[in-house]
Symmetry: C2
Subunit: 203 residues, 2 copies
């Protein structure tokens, strides 16, 4: 029971911090603001974190972890699909990308904060996770068709494109519709599959 | 005649610098090395440049300028092509990308130096030039089909992908064959055209 109560307090502190970020700059928020807004005591805050900075890092870490899980899940789904069946592929890929972007948008403030502070590099995380997963999942299959270097370069191309688009989306306060971003990333990912499966490179 | 002779001396100084860069680190090269290797006097060097650094900046600037010209030329060629004619498109695009990469490789040392010093950001230059040109050339045509935001996002995706692949190529000392890089960039650019011309997005 103690653990459950602790979780509730911690969650309240996190929510309070997110709420404050909508109104104020990170630099202008202090621990007192966070605890008052969460209707809890400063002692409770210091039970979990030594400082506002430490809390921020914990949030970044959680986000990084959950992004990893999300991407793993989606790559897992792809294992089931026949890459030559373009309708089946799009039925899986588009909603998956759309949901990931919704997830990013619902965690908007932490991403904007990340962008501002540069303490936790979300964009590199995204790139590393994607590259790891695409390489892990597809390499065995694709190696039948292509050389590993070609796969690696194309994956780097794709993940860097995704990272740049997401970074720009965040830095422009996510004004562009999710639909437009999702369509772009979907079409580009679909193309990546086509390049990797349909091109036979002899170097 | 005076101007022509001056050009020859300046060229000799540049070549000397490039040659030395193959053997030594930038930091370990001094003006004396450059002039001795160019069979000219230090006075001649100081007639053009105040320091080794100033010469390097001049070389970066020239490179930036010539990259702009190169890209302009190639985009100009594309104006003539029917985008729906995939064979005509590939006949123009692939050799054009291949030649650009050869050009980068023949200027290898200055790119590696750039990467090391971070004084002149070649990668950003490349991105800006590409974005400017793709947008300038294709926007009128594509706007019939798509909204400007969609074009912008896809162009950003493409140029960031190119920049990442080239940056990695440079940082790994251009070990990967030009053919493999050119094939990747060609297939990705071809895909960009297909996305921009064949997708009709209503946002």
């Amino acid at each position: 029971m103690q653990d459950k109560k602790a979780d509730v307090t911690r969650e309240a502190l996190h929510s309070s911090f997110y709420e404050l970020l909508k109104e104020k700059r990170y630099e202008d928020i202090n621990v007192k603001d966070i605890t008052e807004n969460a209707f809890t005591s400063r002692a409770n805050f210091y039970y979990y974190y030594r400082s506002k900075e430490e809390m921020m890092y914990a949030l970044f870490y959680e986000l990084k972890y959950s992004i990893g899980i999300e991407i793993d899940k989606r790559v897992e789904q792809l294992r089931e699909v026949d890459v030559n069946d373009s309708e089946a592929l799009s039925a899986i890929l588009y909603p998956s990308i759309f949901r990931t972007l919704e997830y990013v948008k619902s965690n908007k403030w932490i991403f904007i904060l990340d962008k501002r502070t540069n303490d936790f590099d979300f964009i590199s995380t995204l790139r590393v996770e994607y590259e790891k997963n695409i390489t892990k999942h597809f390499s065995a299959d694709i190696k039948k068709y292509n050389n590993a270097e070609f796969i690696r370069i194309n994956t780097l191309f794709y993940t860097s494109g995704v990272a740049a688009v997401i970074a720009e989306w965040i830095s422009t306060d996510m004004q562009t519709s999710i639909k437009l971003i999702a369509t772009t990333l979907y079409l580009q990912l679909y193309n990546l599959f086509m390049i990797l499966y349909r091109t036979h490179i002899v170097d």
